[in-house]
Symmetry: C2
């Protein structure tokens, strides 16, 4: 009876059906409850953990601050890698791999750099374990020089670059590395801040300051394009203030995104290093005039943090929401049957649909399908895939087989909304839905950011904007404030101390405008973006 209803009727019926069904503790227990508890409104921080848990993306390990990235989460990272890797190649970069360990003496070469990383690094001091005489093991074989597990690789890669670069003919040198990184963070949070994380770090060497600056900005553009077109996250490009830049850089540029708790998340950075690291690592080349000079370098990176951004940009109270261009898989096929005869015909029909998508592409992305024929109710399987964020769910029952049709649901619509689609149209319908989902996630994130971004010129209003909106969630506040800043670090520090609000960036598109500093009232010539941040 259920399967030959028209769309509108079916929806009504489904609502009733769903409300009657029993869910296990993992899913929903009432029609109006959401799959994720608490909701964003109730407790944003805990909602974030629950989305990750319910989508089975990652978990904390027993090793302090280190996470385990589970298959569904790791597949997102692989898609990020694959896409960025193509973009890096198209801009002339090649991958290479450098040592995990950095000798302490290398690390000490750039004063600001070591200052920035020395407080939180893993130090290898011994090379073996020995019997401690009590049935256990003790460390032994002390190294003559301690080794730092790389928190970033400027100094170790610089040592190679010094050997590789001899003449202006060797430049530009455009290298990228995919690697793991360790920073001994005090407070950790899955994907956002972990002691070990995965990232890519681009390191390039140039003949002139102009060339290096062009590279720095070009790679920031690559990140912004990737965030917008693949992650469906609109970002603001800008420059970091002196206090927020990378230790050792001349300028740091960043892309900043707004999360659903209105905080900013720095999603990628690109650093113009001037000659600082070239001097520290002695990267010199013979220029066109025959003279030897120090080279100009850049570095730029994004990390598994992007997965945190992805989660907080799009997910809702029913769990993870994945833009199709970065989803590990795109379609969940959910066969529904009551007996062996139905099972055979429904599964046969599922195979036909799967065949329809074998090798199919959604633009530059290969479409993957999951056939979920586990011994669970249709509703349980539906909610399983909703919580995992799969873009499209297709239910197939005996009536669908008879009608040569399927019931299709989109992750960006209400969970119970379904549409009956004839087999002949299924591929076109899915392709257009994938584009629709990709666009709707981007548009929602953009609308949300615009809704929570204001220009503020009054100090009191500024302080009010960043105050908690309700007591239960003291972290929820106004969002992004475009306000004037005089350029003085003291004002930046005061606002940070008072409100935990920082200058996220001086946006590239900030128009010249006369105003007065939101903190001290002194003259300012443009607005910067203030926000709380991850």
């Amino acid at each position: 009876m259920l399967y030959n209803l028209k769309i509108i009727d079916r929806k009504a019926v489904m609502a009733i059906v769903v409300s009657r069904q029993k869910f296990n503790g993992d899913t929903m227990s009432k029609q109006n409850r959401t799959a994720i508890e608490p909701t964003r409104e109730q407790n944003y921080a805990e909602w974030y953990q629950q989305v990750i848990k319910n989508a089975d993306l990652a978990e904390n390990s027993d090793v302090r601050g280190c996470m385990v990235i589970k298959p569904w989460g790791y597949a997102i990272w692989e898609n990020i890698q694959r896409t960025l890797d193509v973009m890096f190649r198209e801009t002339g970069h090649r991958n290479a791999y450098f040592p995990l360990f950095i000798p302490k003496s290398y690390f000490e070469k750039e004063a600001e750099h070591v200052e920035g990383f020395a407080k939180e690094c893993a130090v290898v001091t011994h090379s073996r374990l020995e019997d401690n005489g009590e049935g256990g093991l003790k460390v032994a074989g002390e190294l003559t020089e301690p080794l730092i597990v790389r928190p970033t690789s400027e100094t170790i890669i610089g040592a190679s670059f010094a050997k590789w670069v001899n003449s202006y003919r060797d430049l530009p040198l455009l290298i990228n590395q995919w690697a793991n990184i360790v920073r001994w963070e005090m407070r950790t949070r899955l994907f956002l801040r972990t002691a070990e994380f995965l990232w890519q770090e681009g390191h390039t060497v140039h003949e002139s300051s102009e060339d290096a600056m062009e590279e720095t900005r070009k790679m920031l553009d690559v990140y912004a394009k990737f965030a917008a077109e693949y992650l469906a996250i609109p970002v603001i490009q800008g420059e970091k203030t002196e206090g927020e830049k990378f230790p050792g850089a001349v300028n740091t540029y960043c892309i900043e995104a707004m999360m659903q708790d209105r905080k900013a998340l720095q999603a990628g950075t690109s650093h113009f290093l001037g000659q600082n690291f070239a001097k520290a690592s002695n990267i010199k080349f013979q220029g066109r005039n025959g003279e030897f000079e120090y080279a100009w370098t850049t570095s730029w990176g994004v990390s598994t943090r992007l997965i945190g951004a992805l989660i907080m940009a799009h997910s809702d109270d029913n769990g993870l929401a994945l833009p199709p261009k970065i989803a590990p898989s795109h379609i969940a096929l959910i066969p529904i049957f009551r007996n062996e005869e139905e099972r055979v015909s429904v599964l046969e029909y599922c195979k036909k649909i799967r065949q329809e998508f074998a090798g199919a592409m959604f633009e530059d992305i290969r479409i993957y399908t999951e056939l979920d024929d586990r011994d669970l109710t249709g509703s349980e399987r539906n909610w399983y895939w909703i919580k995992k964020g799969i873009p499209i769910r297709i239910e197939i029952g005996p009536r669908d087989v008879a009608a040569n049709a399927v019931m299709i649901s989109r992750r960006d619509k209400e969970p119970r909304e379904k549409e009956s689609v004839h087999l002949d149209n299924i591929k076109a319908y899915v392709l257009s839905s994938l584009r629709g989902i990709q666009d709707s996630y981007y548009q929602r994130a953009l609308d949300f950011r615009q809704e929570h971004t204001v220009k503020i010129d009054d100090n009191k209003k500024f302080y009010k904007f960043f105050s908690p909106k309700n007591e239960a969630q003291p972290e929820i506040h106004g969002g992004f404030a475009h306000s004037h800043w005089c350029g003085d670090t003291a004002c930046e520090e005061k606002i940070k101390d008072d409100l935990k609000v920082t200058i996220r960036c001086i946006p590239f598109d900030a128009e010249p405008e006369e105003g007065s500093c939101i903190c001290c009232g002194k003259a300012s010539d443009k607005r910067v973006i203030f926000a709380k941040s991850y």
Copy 2:
């Protein structure tokens, strides 16, 4: 005049031309000299280093035992990864990522395992660096428990698996990890033995001993197939002896390949771990009968060592030789011109040829082309690509443009051998050449192994077989000996002490045969493979 000669004449002329040309120190200085010095015959170990250096694959870093993998070498690793990753997926495995650090207490859980790895591991004991009061830094923030940088991940992954596995319904659990590994090796050698290396490690959990054993053997088959079909390396599959197996395993299976110095290289291993690690990590599941029991696990891995195998299986005295199915790039286009007018027309023609190969596939492999229009002589560029092992070189001069043809050389033929091919036939010619090169490398390696493999039943002949063939290269010896072994570890040890020869494996295809142990003369029922090894 050069370009319209027929092939046979052309070769003769080229030999003269080449002998007249001047080469810089990096290439050849006389017709009969080879590009790599010393040759394999002169000094095999140094030849290996020089092949790597001349192909720009990798270099030693200043960090003890750690290598820098340069772009051409890393691209080979990426191709290995890409191909194996597809094979792992097709056999149901999913990628995940686990912590770099293993707490000392985890490490101690499996006695044989810790015994095997404790002597050579990097131990993190501190979490920061502090000013030492003398302008330098000292280690600080001692950890309560030392952390071992993973030498392999059975124990850390086991801790997660213990949480993930509850019921037989959760099995099999089929996980793979791509990661970096650290083993504090005393004597290191690029790709073959380095303190840090890259690898994949499969870790799986099963309901029964049979299922786990099936998995162990299946993945060894995957490795053997990959080695044969992609790396063009014939391998022998077999089982390790008790003395040579993985610390903590019940059985270790391996693939063994013969290198050009007739030594064996273990190219991959697959371990049946029984319930050893399940007990150490407490991986239990509720079986079909409702009872809780320990699971059965496996692990299997290959590493950047495969690049060492690749180099030593196929390269010659002119440098690296890459099977097309694993080469980072396939065709070097070498335009030759004497003036601006020729430059324009030749480069235009090169573009046309490149277009011919845009998006082209050699079976499952995308074909890449390199346009080398650097300001070097044609010969210098030719030798550059020969030493890098690119399968196909295409020279294009003004006469070729006029004749609508190109001159094609194959890396598996003599460096000066060229064939004139009409533009219409170029794609078909290249595709068939790629298949030809792939096959010829495999066949040569197989012939070489067969030539240097003998059955030996006499103890004196055995000792003679493994003695140096000449004084200059004391390492060069007979090759693989198929000989009888009684099964006693004492005999294995004696041969190892006397000759540095080990039992590489008990081959799966060893036929039952009565004989007497090559060492002690006691009864034996089959032959095993003895060899020197890397």
